[in-house]
Amino acid sequence: MMNRAIQVCGLKKSYDSNIVLNGLDFEIEKGETFALLGVNGAGKTTALECIEGLKKYDSGTITVNGKMGIQLQSSSLPAHIKPMEAVRLFAKWNRAKIDFTMLNALGIQEIEKKQYIQLSTGQKRRLHLALALIGNPDIIFLDEPTAGLDTLSRVSLHEQIRKRRSQGKTIVLASHDMAEVENLCDRIAILNNGNIAFCGTATELTDEIGEKYFIHIKTRQGNSTFETDNIEDTLVLLLNDLKQKEIHILDIKVDRGTLEQHFIEIARSKTE
């Protein structure tokens, strides 16, 4: 238990007759970056809030070893508060000194004159991350930290998360962004219908669902998407085919599929 930051056993939570968490079991090691993945309504936020102590659960046990820092979701501060006022308030509550280097890195001082209601989504998320980091916590909880952010804000936030990781902090994040999770996390748990459908590393997930890519091609004739497990061969074939037919390519994009697509794969493999 000494090396475990968090241990969750048989966690159950329901709202009236709607079962949201149906007996979750997982452990998170100290210094690990762990992701809870799931589509909207999968129970990620509920699971996080139960662990954080923000929500009561019906049954099960949760053990947390270390001081927690919680990045709250947007709309969890008064509309007219200014960022530095929130920082000072949280610092006083946590009896912590303000880390101006961290605030600078997150660009909080640039927005100090604005009120919370005037901040963009990205600025709000940066502020909430700063507030979560104020007490120098051992375990940092991040709920969809980069949802709705532009690329620059996303990169800057990822840098901050990596920095905390290199300091040996345990990071638990809920997300529905596969790429983000692959980039940042050591292990992933996928929530589906209140259960953990998968728990392991990104490589283990790839092994489970197989190599899968989606090629999106935009031409004057329209858009087409091709699914493949051999990206090089399929791309060559497609490009040759289009060249032969003298079809001009306007745009081409390759991705590894959305989380929903992976879910379908995982769910299919579980039922087969």
Binding site: Q73, S75, S76, P78
Partner: protein, 238 residues
């Protein structure tokens, strides 16, 4: 403790920035005071002896029943309350800071009325100022405790506007501040007694500071504290 005082001071600033409390604690009561003070004392010069108490009952009722509850709804009917839990701070802290901040706002308005009324309208100052201010402090606390119950029990602003008026209007119309309570039909006089305004008004009048006028306010305050405690306990349990 440092965090607590910073929280109260910050809340005080936030109240000024959020126009609703600023308007209901300062702008409307003071405009009402300037207008009605002139009208009352020119139509019925004898009202000069109770003008300060009348205007204070109106100002405190407006600030407490219409000004405070929206701030409480903003916190307790939203995710803002999670900020307290996430930082290991008691969930009642929001209520306490908002209560104290609103108390300071209302006291400032009342002091302005006490200072301006004799100059502008030749109103009579209360004979025993220490008892008057003690009665005023008690009345503000009791009114804010009712405002707190409204803010914690009602979950949306539209409903609040309606219910707050159901408390505010009878407090003003049936408390005796606009016209003598003896002129009202008996049943309206009885209804008027339900609201703390008539008790607070009598408590602030010269020689009015006695247990006969005080017991009901104490009863209302402790009932409101109990209701707030139960609501916050329920919220915490969720």
């Amino acid at each position: 403790m440092n965090g607590f005082f910073y929280g109260v001071a910050l809340q005080w600033k936030l109240d000024i920035r959020s126009k609703s409390l600023f308007v209901t604690c300062y702008i409307v009561p003071l405009i009402f005071f300037l207008l009605m003070g002139g009208i009352f004392t020119s139509v019925m010069p004898e009202m000069g002896s109770t003008l300060i108490q009348s205007m204070i009952v109106m100002s405190v009722s407006m600030g407490a029943f219409i000004g405070l509850p929206p701030s409480l709804i903003e916190t307790y009917a939203s995710d803002i309350k999670k900020a307290y839990k996430a930082n290991g701070v008691p969930i009642c802290l929001g209520l306490v800071t908002m209560f104290l901040s609103a108390y300071v706002h209302l006291m400032i308005t009342c002091v302005v009325i006490v200072l301006l009324a004799p100059i502008l309208f030749k109103a009579t100052l209360p004979a025993q100022l220490p008892f008057f201010f003690l009665a005023l402090a008690i009345y503000i606390i009791v009114s804010l405790s009712i405002g707190s119950v409204l803010g914690l029990t009602i979950k949306n602003q539209a409903k609040l506007t309606m219910i707050a008026q159901l408390v505010f209007l009878p407090s003003i119309m049936l408390s005796g501040i606009m016209f003598p309570i003896e002129l009202l039909p008996d049943f309206l006089e009885t209804i008027g007694q339900i609201f703390p305004a008539s008790w607070g008004y009598r408590l602030m009048l010269d020689n009015g500071f006695c247990l006969e006028n005080l017991w009901y306010l104490i009863f209302i305050f402790f009932t409101a504290v109990m209701v707030c405690g139960i609501i916050l306990k329920k919220q915490k349990a969720k």
